[in-house]
């Protein structure tokens, strides 16, 4: 329930903002109470107690001097701490995230900018080290936001925005598109999964290899049907003939937490439901509903995808 909260934070970036928030909430509460007390006095207090409130000095003191002092202090402090948010440390990893309607394309890139690994709707990162996120979009404006780790940054056509942040400890953090991007803006989420550096290395090495060939007959059938139904025109499963680039990469889709961009948990049931009624579950997304499949065929494809982990 708190995996997408700005006030329960797990990274230094979001943590600094959380501190700032609490300071401002407290200050705002005090100022609000002050104004309300003054207004109450102005209305109800006996004349002798409100005489001091009736002159210009009252207005100048509280309306000019007081805000100038408090706001200047807040601004100076705020600018100081926002400087600490700009990480200068070398990033452990560079990840390109590309906003799509309505999902997230994820590229792990090396120092030369070569794509080393492709994923979608889920970003695995090692803990404790700053990660550089290179934010782009293929179509309209999106905004990349993982509240419990950092503030948001827009993805704007023709521009590349870069942000760096880190996760303090292993865990699952949810992110969501924050800039209205059309029909299914509401269902455009993703997960950031922070692993210990060791776990991350293991995962990364395994993810770089293509998935194992299926052996169980149902899964073998599923793989064949996946190809025969043309899924590969839009989706990629590394190591197979499926090399489409329009939709999310499905190489290890079974290992991801969610399908349909953070909308459903990944399991064989939701995969089957999604394949046969994608347009009902997330109307106007680019994937058609495959209503033409036989029951066993649907199960086979769903089971095959679920086995990719």
């Amino acid at each position: 329930m708190w995996i997408q909260s700005t006030m329960v934070t797990y990274g230094p970036h979001a943590g600094v903002i959380e501190t700032l928030s609490w300071v401002m909430f407290t200050g705002a509460l005090l100022i609000f109470l002050l104004v309300m007390v003054l207004a109450t006095l102005a209305i109800f207090a006996p004349d002798r107690m409100r005489g001091w409130m009736t002159g210009r000095n009252f207005i100048i003191g509280l309306g000019i001097v007081f805000p100038v002092v408090t706001l200047t202090a807040l601004l100076v402090w705020g600018l100081t701490i926002s400087r600490t948010l700009v990480t200068v440390e070398n990033p452990a990893l560079r990840i390109e995230v590309i906003g799509e309607r309505w999902w997230w394309r994820v590229h792990y890139v090396d120092a030369e900018g070569q794509i080393r690994l492709v994923s979608a709707n889920e970003i695995k990162i090692p803990t404790g080290r700053p990660i550089e996120f290179v934010l782009k979009t293929q179509d309209v404006i999106h905004s990349f936001w993982v509240p419990s780790l950092a503030g948001k940054l827009d993805m704007i056509p023709g521009r590349v925005n870069v942000t760096r942040f880190s996760a303090e400890r292993p865990g699952i953090y949810r992110g969501q598109c924050a800039e209205y991007c059309g029909a299914q803006h509401a269902l455009m989420a993703f997960y950031v999964v922070a692993l210990t550096p060791d776990e991350f290395e293991t995962w990364y090495a395994r993810e770089a290899t293509p998935p194992a060939e299926p052996v169980i007959p149902l899964l073998v059938r599923g793989k064949v049907l996946f190809r025969e139904n043309g899924c590969g025109a839009c989706h990629t499963v590394r190591g197979t003939s499926a090399g489409g680039l329009i939709g999310p990469d499905l190489t290890y889709v079974g290992a991801r937490l969610s399908i349909a961009a953070g909308t459903y948990p990944t399991n064989v049931g939701t995969l089957a439901g999604w394949i046969s009624s994608a347009q009902h579950l997330k109307p106007d997304n680019l994937m058609p509903s495959f209503g033409n499949l036989q029951g066993e065929e649907l199960r086979a494809i769903a089971a095959y995808l679920e086995s990719l982990k």
């Binding site: 700005t6 401002m24 056509p157 949810r174």
Partner: protein, 837 residues
């Protein structure tokens, strides 16, 4: 006393007859401010209720996670329409509407200086707004959000006509808002009670003056922006398409350069109303009048330096973010000054326990919270988290409902007795207050939490696992409570509000002029003012005004008239003859609206016909507007003071309007020029790399020569007009007629020169902006051609001579402006790339 009483027999009856509104169905052709003002407020409030109903549908959809009451298509249209209607069809119109009603009353003018213009603005808004709303019923309502960010709203991702409804509808309604603003500026500066110098001007008038000036400066930006986006949608001119040298952020800069001042455009008039109501309810003058006026002016200036705070998450450089962060905080200071001035005023008097007081105190409570969260989101790092979440939704509803809706209700309860025989009910009013006050806090305070829990705005649903369900349910409950409060108010209105049957008088014992006894002609005679609260400080004022002892107790020109005063110290300058009821403005507005709707739904032929009809009706309406000196000659308004009934030049009210119109035109031009330089910084590669890629230098030189020649001819026409009617009017006519083709020829040369190089508007951002500069110039040329020929026709009709020459003077002013703008455009297009190369 300037005039002796008792007044001659029949004088009052004559005044009444002249100002009597038309009867039967013809009452719709009324133009004076008491009528138009009430309709205007009523229509704006109708849109408030409609947009509120849309919000209730949305709140019902969000009451539980993953509900499927309405789909994403309708939801996305609803939030777009809710925001758009509340901002463009409710908030701005309602403050303009209230001022149409209140300003002449407060300044003891018989009417606004251009009653037909405000009638036109109202009817255009009425027809256009309703047609815009009806797009919802056909599933054609815009769905790109109220700030319509491209590329989502451009032709690739929004191929339907939904977005066009927004662009043409809103662009058009903004024209109506600007018309209203021109009216207000001239009204505040030129039609005041004698003696009501700037330091005695009611704070409300000050606020409306600053409001209108802000509209003049800010709204052209949205007009320019909608123009560019519509050109991109209709003709694929790529202003916002990155691959072709456009930039989506150009829209955001233009939109927020309008959009941020918009918030203060809404708030300042409301604050002005509060500054009127608080002293009356506390029965004591406003404490810190000068500070409050300075705060109002300061807000106006500062509000133009904040627009980037809507763009903190777009990845702009840290330094510019810091600047805008500081400016955003600074703007809270003038608001603070006003808040403490009101508290000080309350403390120095004794507030009455009445409904307006309740709404004022509710306003203080809610607005202060909105202001404090405003300071939070001005902090850049905090905004990185809060931006585009429900925290922001909560923040701006606190600001706008607190800062504008509560003062509006206070104003309704406070000023209803000036329009209605019966006041609104205290009991129902307090019920409405408590329901709305509790509802607003329940709905929107909760949204702060929902937002901090990570819920983005503009989402039609959310998954159950996020835990936002209970908070959304509370908000939905609160929203229905607000709805119930508004319903109570509507019942009160239906039971008690009876306009046009006389008024109740000074119910609150207030001190300002709108509480003088009045009829449709406003006050019987126009008082001389020696104080800010004349009804408190000038004994017997009401009786003397009513007895006709002050200025202009009758209607000496035989028609509607009011006194025009000097802008600073309000000395009477002349008596303005005001036009009366007319259907022409109604039809002009109807056809203007039909023209824009026709364009939107792609019925080009009917649209064109309506466009022509609109121009015809506008010209017909204008025909009466330059009446020349009245037959009676100079008028003695009282106390031996003789005033002319006609003037020209800087003393004339229409001269002021023309200057303001030139500022508007200049701002639109400025925004296009900004786009030119902005796109150049983004993609200089699309700019001509050498002079060879530009049209040969003779093209712009030729165009400039023709522009200047046309200006010289118009100047010559003016010289010759000074000799009419003693000498022939033909030299004037011939010079004007010749000037038109020269001007057209100039702009044609510019376009031909560009076409010659092979540049096309759809190929790059550069091409698009160059042709836009030319097209905008072409539009001005077309307008000026009509104005020039209209002036010639006036001359042929014998309505133009060396005395009666306002029509010519205005055409001439605008002509020279148009030529100057054309020369600047040529300089930018042809010299800037050469300087680079």
């Amino acid at each position: 006393m300037p005039n002796p009483a008792p007044r001659p027999e029949g004088e009052l009856e004559e005044l009444k007859r002249i100002w009597e509104p038309p009867k039967g169905i013809h009452f719709l052709s009324a133009v004076n401010n008491n009528y138009v003002g009430v309709w205007y407020v009523g229509t704006a409030f109708l849109f408030f209720v409609l947009a509120g109903a849309l919000a209730l549908i949305m709140r019902t959809q969000l009451a539980q996670p993953e509900l499927r009451l309405i789909g994403h298509e309708l939801y996305n249209q609803l939030f777009t329409m809710h925001g758009t209607i509340m901002m463009f069809l409710f908030a701005v119109p309602v403050v303009e509407a209230l001022s149409v009603f209140l300003l002449p009353n407060m300044q003891a003018a018989r009417d606004l200086p251009f009653p037909r213009l405000s009638a036109y603005a109202f009817w255009a808004y009425f027809f256009g707004g309703l047609a815009f709303f009806c797009s919802l019923f056909f599933g054609l309502a815009p769905n790109g959000g109220w700030f319509m960010y491209p590329p989502l709203t451009s032709y690739i991702y929004s191929p339907g006509i939904n977005a066009d409804f927004w662009l043409l509808g809103i662009g058009f309604i903004e024209i109506s808002a600007i018309a209203g603003a021109i009216e207000i500026i001239v009204g505040v500066l030129k039609t005041r009670a004698p003696g009501q110098s700037l330091d005695k001007l009611p704070v409300y008038s000050w606020a409306m003056l600053v409001f209108a000036l802000m509209v003049i400066v800010a709204f052209p930006a949205i007009i320019a922006a909608t123009l560019l986006l519509e050109l991109e949608r209709a003709f694929h001119w790529p202003f916002f398409i990155a691959e072709k040298g456009g930039d989506p952020l150009l829209w955001q800069h233009l939109f927020w350069f309008f959009g941020h001042p918009e918030v203060y455009v809404i708030f300042l008039p409301a604050a002005g109303m509060v500054s009127m109501i608080v002293p009356a309810m506390a029965q004591t003058p406003l404490v810190g009048y000068r500070l409050v006026v300075l705060a109002v002016i300061g807000t106006g200036f500062l509000s133009f330096g904040l627009w980037v705070h809507h763009m903190f998450t777009t990845g702009l450089p840290q330094l510019s973010l810091s600047f805008f962060s500081a400016a955003s905080m600074a703007v809270s200071i003038p608001s603070g000054i006003q808040v403490f001035a009101w508290i000080a005023t309350i403390a120095s008097g004794k507030v009455q326990n009445k409904t307006p007081t309740y709404f004022i105190l509710g306003f203080l409570f809610i607005f202060v919270i909105g202001g404090l969260t405003g300071v939070m989101v001005a902090m850049v790092p905090f905004d990185w988290q809060a931006h585009d979440t429900y925290f922001i939704v909560a923040h701006f509803h606190y600001v706008l409902i607190g800062g504008m809706v509560f003062p509006m209700f206070a104003a309704f309860y406070y000023w209803a007795p000036t329009a209605s025989q019966r006041p609104l009910s205290e009991t129902l009013g307090k019920w409405a207050f408590w329901l709305i006050f509790i509802g607003v806090n329940v709905t929107f305070f909760t949204m702060h939490i929902t937002g901090l829990m990570g819920m983005p705005r503009r989402t039609y649903t959310y998954i159950a696992e996020m835990g936002w369900g209970p908070f959304n349910l509370i908000s939905t409950f609160g929203a229905y409570t607000i709805g119930a409060g508004v319903l109570v108010f509507l019942i009160d209105l239906a039971k008690n509000f009876r306009p046009y049957q006389g008024d109740l008088g000074n119910l609150w014992n207030a001190g300002t002029l709108e509480w003088l006894p009045s009829g449709n002609y406003q006050t019987r005679s126009i008082p001389v003012i020696t104080s800010r609260e004349p009804l408190w400080d000038q004994p017997n004022l009401s009786d003397d005004v009513e007895a006709g002892r002050y200025y202009l107790p009758g209607a000496q020109t035989g028609g509607r008239e009011t006194i025009v005063t000097s802008p600073i110290d309000a000395r009477p300058q002349y008596v303005l003859q005001i036009p009366g009821p007319s259907w022409r403005t109604v039809f002009a507005a109807f056809f203007t609206a039909a023209f824009f709707i026709g364009l939107t739904i792609k019925l080009y032929t009917p649209a064109f016909v309506c466009g022509v009809l609109a121009v015809v009706f506008v010209i017909w309406w204008l025909w009466d507007s330059d009446p020349g000196p009245a037959e009676v000659g100079e008028i003695e308004i009282g106390g031996g003071l003789k005033l002319p009934t006609y003037t020209t030049g800087p003393m004339n009210h229409s001269w002021w309007a023309m200057i303001i119109l030139m500022i508007v035109a200049g701002m639109v031009f400025g925004c296009i020029v900004f786009s030119y330089f902005f796109l150049w910084t983004i993609s200089p590669r699309t700019w001509p790399l050498s002079a060879a890629a530009l049209p040969a230098i003779w093209w712009p030189i030729g165009a400039a020569a023709l522009f200047v020649a046309s200006s010289l001819l118009v100047w010559l026409a003016g010289r010759k007009l000074s000799l009419v009617p003693e000498r022939s009017a033909w030299p004037t006519r011939i010079a004007l007629v010749l000037a038109v083709p020269l001007f057209i020829g100039g702009i044609a040369l510019e376009v031909l020169g560009q076409l010659e190089t092979g540049l096309r508007p759809s190929e790059s951002g550069y091409g698009a902006v160059v042709y836009t500069l030319a097209s905008y110039q072409g539009f001005l040329v077309a307008v000026l051609a009509i104005m020039g020929l209209y002036t010639v026709v006036r001359s042929l009709a014998g309505c133009l001579n060396r005395v009666r020459r306002s029509t010519f003077d205005n055409t001439q002013l605008f002509w020279h402006y148009g030529v100057a703008q054309g020369l600047v455009a040529l300089l930018i297009i042809h010299a800037f790339p050469r300087l680079l190369g």
